[in-house]
């Protein structure tokens, strides 16, 4: 047994099954990511990091825990990572992006749950998530119904904290959220035994803002007339932002951004001039899931922006760095996170306007609304967004799908047809 597998075995993982998972992931990674032409050189780090998500990163966290650090698992971009980092703990997103683990969840949970939740649960239930045994706490949130009820089940066996998000962005909703952020800070302090100091918190706020700015830079560069990076690679970077060690991630991302800037200047792009541009809006595509981006980019178009939790929702808006005392800092943090426009809010008019605005900003020829099956909030919101896009003269297509490949042929037909429908209309 390899040294790494020994580590996984010591953690109580089903090593044989985990090997099968890795083999399936390695194949899709080769076919979907590595096979792309003209990738930026700086993507080499992110390829290693993707590989390390079940390897080096796990080792790193195991080592850090031996030094006393705590690992906190997250499932949503509403979890304020600054607070976790300021207590010396390590945040890692635990969302599953693979269809491999879905059947294990379906054994114990209803099938009519979104694939992201099922994939996540399946990884845990089949003992193939290496972060499962090393997390000291997991943080859920009250976004969708599936997650809320899943928390009830898994909190029976896992040290769990639920952040209560308001359903409306009213003043009262804001007060509730601020209260939740305070409570979360206390909970993290209790777990780590650390007291969050304003100096350290300010430093982590700056770190997270740096990450957000760099991701925003990446996003702006993607919007260039000739995108210097594929949508799949940009998505991969986004996915890793939720898992990787933030300092190192920022340094590597800085190098990528510099390279992309040069590529824009030199006119280097993986896409031919005149390639159709697509904005993908809606649900997240977490690590392991490149389904819709792959279909779009192998149908002759480029994904030039992601309006999702693995896209703009993660990096837009900064936390105000001017606050001095912890209370003020927490207020600034709460304020930033509550601006995220998840479809779980009612009403959520700002998101509708924002998608139309983004489509214009990235000069999208069309918008693909990506909806994970059974994600009712994004699915229903898609109706209003499609209408708003139509009024703005932007063609769009709504795709509701899970992680499996069984509908790939039909989805390809729809995406190809969307691109065909753009022809005969001057670009």
């Amino acid at each position: 047994m390899s040294e790494h597998n020994q580590l996984l075995a010591d953690l109580g993982l089903d090593v044989q099954l985990h090997d099968k998972l890795l083999a399936s992931q390695a194949k899709s990674y080769r076919d979907i990511i590595l096979s792309q032409p003209d990738r930026p050189g700086a993507m080499a780090y992110f390829d290693r990091a993707a590989h390390g998500a079940h390897g080096g990163r796990v080792r790193e966290i195991v080592d850090a825990r031996e030094q006393g650090a705590k690992m906190i698992g997250t499932f949503c971009v509403y979890v304020p990572e600054e607070i976790i980092l300021a207590a010396g703990a390590i945040p890692v997103a635990l969302c599953g992006g693979t269809t491999f683990s879905v059947p294990y969840a379906e054994k114990a949970f209803p099938r009519d749950i979104c694939p992201l939740v099922k994939s996540t649960l399946g990884l845990a239930l089949a003992d193939i998530c290496p972060y499962g045994p090393i997390k000291d706490m997991a943080v859920g949130e009250t976004t969708c119904d599936a997650k809320k009820k899943v928390w009830d089940v898994i909190s029976q066996s896992v040290n769990f904290h639920v952040l209560e998000l308001p359903q409306k962005k009213t003043e009262r909703g804001g007060d509730l959220w601020l209260h939740e952020v305070h409570e979360f800070k206390e909970r993290v302090e209790e777990l780590t035994g650390a007291r969050i100091e304003p100096g350290v918190l300010a430093q982590k706020v700056r770190l997270m803002n740096r990450k957000r700015r760099l991701l925003r830079d990446l996003n702006e560069l993607r919007m260039a007339p000739r995108p210097p990076i594929s949508g799949k690679d940009a998505l991969l970077v986004m996915q890793l932002a939720l898992i990787d060690e933030p300092e190192r991630f920022c340094n590597e991302l800085e190098a990528l951004v510099a390279e992309l800037r040069q590529r824009v200047e030199d006119g280097v792009s993986p896409f031919a001039p005149g390639t159709r541009r697509v904005l993908v809006a809606g649900c997240p595509s977490v690590l392991g899931n490149w389904k819709i981006h792959h279909i779009i980019e192998t149908s002759g178009a480029a994904v030039v922006c992601d309006e999702s939790c693995t896209g703009t929702r993660y990096f837009e808006n900064l936390v105000d760095e001017g606050a001095q005392a912890v209370d003020e800092q927490l207020e600034a943090i709460a304020e930033r996170y509550l601006r995220i426009d998840c479809s779980c809010f009612t009403p959520n008019t700002e998101r509708i306007e924002h998608v139309v605005e983004l489509a214009g900003e990235c000069r999208a020829d069309a918008v693909v609304q990506y909806i994970l099956q059974y994600c009712h909030t994004y699915n229903i919101e898609a109706i209003r967004i499609a209408r708003a896009l139509r009024s703005a003269g932007i063609p769009s297509l709504e795709i509701e799908t899970d992680y499996s490949e069984e509908d790939a042929g039909q989805l390809r037909t729809r995406v190809e047809a969307l691109l065909e429908s753009l022809q005969g209309v001057s670009p």
Binding site: R390, P395, E400, E406, D407, G409, Q410, T413, R414, E416, A417, E420, S421, L422, Q423, G424, V425
Partner: protein
């Protein structure tokens, strides 16, 4: 100008494969066969007996055709829209119910086609649904529509899932329900489902109805009742998508659709191809 005037369109559908030849705008040859388990051998066999011409493949199995024949591919949505422009120049939309796919496509003034809706992977509201129900009722597929039209009233069908609806039909039969009424109920339910999908696009004043299911008179009647617009059925509606593929092959041979005036309505005066 010596560009091709003959073109062959291949529509490799999920249930049936359709191959047509257009010569000087007329439909001069048409083959329809079960896609089955080995559509390629049959397709190559049919192709051997046909005169050469510009070639284009569409449908679910278009890549299979492309891998073995010198042809480009388009989606069945574009081919369907292209056919509709020709078959019904003043239609504002087209509804296609095939073996496993149902689609509704806008035909706006500008562009090849506009917004479209398609069923997801489920067979509800497709030809396959009616095929399974015909079997459960002991009718041949051709008889299902005519028999349903002879019913005095429909039986309410609640399930649109092919598997659930089949059990529903079986239990209705066991209760002694008239099977023609059941058949009528199935058509009504399917038409409601298709109309609901079509309501998500702008069907305009006039829609064209194509695909194998458009041959079913009961579906036509029910869909007419459900839709807010006029519904036109061309001759041989099952060939429409293949005809669209052949028309696109001709467009391309003549320097692209813009040259032959496909996108706009300016070209809508074209005569419909003669049906043999």
């Amino acid at each position: 100008m010596s560009a091709a005037t003959t073109a062959i369109g291949i529509d490799l559908g999920s249930r049936m494969t359709k191959v047509v030849r257009l010569s000087d705008g007329d439909l001069t040859d048409a083959h329809v066969f079960d896609t089955g388990h080995d559509p390629l051998s049959r397709l190559l066999e049919v192709m051997e007996g046909m005169e050469a011409g510009a070639l284009l493949a569409t449908g679910y199995g278009r890549y299979l055709a492309r891998n073995h024949l010198p042809c480009a591919t388009v989606t069945e949505i574009r081919a369907c829209a292209r056919a509709a422009r020709r078959l019904c120049p003043d239609c504002d939309s087209v509804i296609d119910i095939g073996g496993q796919d149902t689609k509704a496509i806008e035909l706006p003034e500008r562009g090849w086609f506009g917004r479209f809706e398609m069923n997801d992977r489920c067979a509800a509201g497709t030809g396959r649904f009616l095929e399974v129900m015909a079997e459960a009722l002991g009718y041949g597929l051709e008889d299902l529509g005519p028999q349903a039209l002879r019913a005095d009233r429909p039986v309410q069908i609640n399930s649109m899932c092919t598997v659930f609806a089949e059990s529903e039909v079986i239990s209705l039969i066991a209760r002694g329900e008239d099977r023609r009424r059941i058949a009528l109920g199935l058509h009504a339910a399917t038409a409601r489902r298709v109309a609901a999908m079509a309501s998500r696009i702008d069907t305009g004043r006039r829609a064209l109805f194509v695909g194998g299911v458009a041959k079913n008179p009961c579906m036509v009647a029910n869909l007419r009742e459900e839709l807010p617009c006029e519904l036109i059925v061309p001759e041989r509606p099952e060939l429409a998508v293949a005809i669209g593929a052949a028309l696109i092959a001709l467009d391309e041979a003549h320097g692209g659709a813009e040259a032959t005036g496909d996108p706009g309505r300016g070209n809508r005066a074209e005569a419909a191809p003669r049906s043999d």
